[in-house]
């Protein structure tokens, strides 16, 4: 009996170039290190055929200064907590901030919606790699969890419930305002 230690190998022999439309994804393709970036989470459907009642976003380490955008018809909550490492912004040391965003409301399964927040991706997150941000959609009787992060060498299209991701790019060396 051979042990295959690979993670989530669904034998789908396809090369895929774009994001899966039926998954939760970000509208943005990339974020720049050490700049405030806007991220737009796209939610295409509910859990099975149930309406989405809560959208929860977990902010990974190295992503700071998170600010969710208010949304009409939705109640907004954040969970704050300490960061693993202190970060310097404009000379100030920042040690804690938003770790989770929770929007509560109702999004019927047949409808589409977007949820917006701003983040600052620090150099703790390597440039040239994808940053995956886990998202959970909670419904009355279940949840849709976009939380799978591909292992090294793995394609996120091979995952059943991939976390939405953006490409992290380094800041331009000159012409950077503040």
């Amino acid at each position: 009996m051979k042990h295959i230690l690979a993670i989530a190998v669904l034998a789908l022999p396809f090369a895929a170039a774009t994001k899966a439309a039926a998954h939760a994804t970000f509208a943005e393709r990339e974020v720049v290190q050490n700049q405030t970036s806007r991220l737009t989470l796209r939610v295409p459907h509910g859990c099975g055929d149930e309406a989405t009642l809560r959208v929860r976003v977990q902010i990974p380490e190295g992503v700071i200064a998170t600010q969710p955008m208010v949304k009409a018809g939705w109640e907004l909550q954040t969970v704050t907590g300490p960061y693993a490492n202190a970060h310097a912004i404009h000379g100030n040391s920042v040690t804690e901030g938003v770790r989770e965003i929770i929007w509560s409301g109702e999004l019927p399964d047949a409808f589409y919606d977007e949820f917006v927040f701003r983040v600052r991706v620090t150099e703790e997150v390597p440039a040239g790699a994808m940053l995956y941000i886990p998202v959970v959609q909670e419904c009355a009787n279940g949840a849709e969890r976009w939380i799978e992060i591909p292992a090294a060498g793995q394609d996120s299209h091979d995952l059943e419930d991939p976390a939405p991701g953006v490409m992290v790019v380094p800041a331009a060396p000159a012409g950077h305002g503040h």
Binding site: M1, K2, I7
Partner: protein, 521 residues
């Protein structure tokens, strides 16, 4: 045909923008118990799809391919002529508008769940019989082809006659088509498809992955080598070719089948190889002997044949007895079983064959040497009888394929264990019983450094992509014993199953563990 085209498109086109179609609901619902068979089955998806395969496994294990029609996001298939009560499995596979295939298995029950849901033994008995007949044909052609060159090299020790060369060439040429058909029909048997499916690639791919493919390759090589040997004149090269052909032919018997798989394999494999080598020589010599009796030096040839055949028969009997003992264990396992009946018939025929052979050797051969006028016709008649008996024995041996050996029936079916170990987590999997059919699943989890790991939820997924079985999903529940339990879930076929465990650790973190488990018959 349309399905085959879609399949080809799916397999070979690089596709973009993969939106996964998701099953939203099914009628009948998964796990439903219905009073009567509904007129049709519907699968509702979140987006338009086209059906690829809808295969219904009935309570008797028979598989029927349903014709599905898609309208928008709903696939409908009529259930006609289905009357038996019990458990049904619908293995479905659809392709969404963008070409991404997804699949699953739906279980529902008519009347009440079957006591014994579909089992692999019942699957496609027709294909199994076809495979058995083709295997017999393949064996016969190899025996004739290889026997001819062996006989020319070691009994005639000279040029083979034109009749013998022609017979060997015909047999060798028939080996390849017979072998190719064996692979395809093996695939039919594995996927429980109708013979018409040989026009599609599915059974061929499945057949190629089976051990019988190695048997076919070795058989074809042996036949070609033997045909080549007969064209090499009479030197030592020819003799060497003939011996290698014999070895390849003998190994072809050991490459697949129950016999070589019996534990301990260190005994079973050589026993099968020796048994096959002896039978190829003996059976393969009968036709050349018949031809040789017409020649002038018949008496010399008969003596040389006997000098090799008598040790060969001893090997045949001893190896045959060993194999029977390995398969049957005790005689109680044999009584009344289908395997026992086939074996008994084979032994009776072997006894008659040995009697005929002994008479040839000890009565008719001396008579021929003394130039008695009636000896040659008697001997010819006796050898023809040997050929008929030999073919009947080979046919019965091919028929063993259809009957599981007593060791498989009698042995208590032990659970099947598997262990998955990654840096982050370890899982122990137990399937009870450890064979194809309904199994219960027990799971235990630990972190990578042996600490307790209690996931919030655990799902186990079984899939056998090679056999076209789409993932079967089961939610596991935590029991009072701290272990997780799922099932019973019906795994309809033996062979390699991909097992995937999806553990939810926190709201935002999951772990996925995969392994391949070989499920015995």
């Amino acid at each position: 045909m349309r399905h085959a085209l879609i399949l080809l498109l799916v397999l070979f086109m690089p596709l973009q923008a993969l939106a996964h179609a998701q099953l939203r609901g099914a009628g009948p619902a998964d796990g439903a118990v219905l009073d009567a068979m509904p007129g049709n089955v519907t699968l509702t998806f979140n987006e338009p799809v086209a059906p690829l395969v809808l295969r219904l496994f009935g309570p008797d294990g028979a598989a029927t391919d349903l014709v599905g029609t898609a309208e928008n996001a709903v696939v409908t298939a009529a259930l006609r002529g289905v009357l038996v009560e019990g458990t049904y499995l619908l293995s479905w596979r659809v392709v969404s508008a963008d070409g991404h295939p997804v699949g699953g298995t739906l279980t529902f029950h008519i009347g009440a769940p079957s006591a014994a849901p579909p089992t692999p033994a019942d699957l496609a008995a027709g294909a199994a019989r076809m495979a058995s007949a083709l295997r017999f044909l393949l064996t016969a052609t190899v025996v004739v082809a290889v026997g001819a060159s062996l006989f020319a090299a070691f009994v005639i020790r000279g040029q083979a006659g034109p009749q013998l060369s022609r017979a060997a060439l015909v047999a060798a040429s028939a080996t390849l088509p017979a072998g190719v058909l064996v692979v395809g029909v093996q695939g039919l048997d594995m996927l429980s498809l109708a013979p018409a499916a040989l026009l599609t690639p599915q059974p061929w791919w499945a057949g190629l992955s089976a051990p019988v493919t190695l048997t076919v390759i070795l058989s074809c090589m042996a036949a070609v080598l033997s045909a080549g040997a007969l064209r090499c004149g009479t030197g030592p090269v020819r003799d060497a070719f003939a011996l290698v052909a014999l070895l390849l032919a003998a190994l072809s018997f050991a490459a697949s089948g129950h016999a070589a798989a019996a534990p301990p394999r260190a005994v079973a494999l050589p026993a099968v190889t020796l048994h096959a080598a002896a039978l190829v020589f003996w059976m393969g010599s009968l036709l050349p002997l018949l031809f040789a009796l017409r020649g002038a030096d018949a008496a010399v040839i008969l003596h040389r044949f006997a000098a090799i055949a008598i040790p060969a028969v001893v090997v045949l009997v001893l190896s045959g007895a060993t194999l029977t003992w390995l398969q049957a264990g005790t005689s109680t396992g044999l009584m009344g079983s289908a395997y026992g009946i086939v074996l008994a018939a084979k032994l009776v025929l072997v006894a008659i064959l040995l009697g005929v052979a002994a008479r040839n050797r000890f009565v008719l051969t001396p008579a021929l040497c003394e130039a008695q006028p009636q000896a040659a016709p008697h001997l010819r008649r006796a050898i023809r009888a040997e050929i008929v008996l030999g073919l009947a024995i080979l046919a019965l041996a091919s028929g063993f394929r259809l009957t599981p050996p007593p060791r498989a029936l009698a042995a208590p079916v032990a659970p099947l264990y598997a262990h998955i170990h990654t840096d982050r987590a370890m899982a122990d999997i137990r399937l009870t019983p450890g064979r194809a059919g309904p199994v219960t699943v027990m799971l235990g989890f630990q972190t990578g450094d042996f600490a307790e790991l209690v996931p919030r939820a655990a799902e186990v997924i079984f899939a056998q992509p090679a056999a076209g079985i789409a993932p079967i999903r089961q939610q596991a529940l935590r029991g009072g014993d701290g272990l997780w339990h799922a099932g019973p879930v019906t795994l309809p076929l033996a062979g390699d199953w991909e097992v995937t465990l999806r553990l939810l650790i926190t709201d935002f973190e999951s772990m996925i563990l995969t392994d391949t488990i070989n499920l015995p018959d």
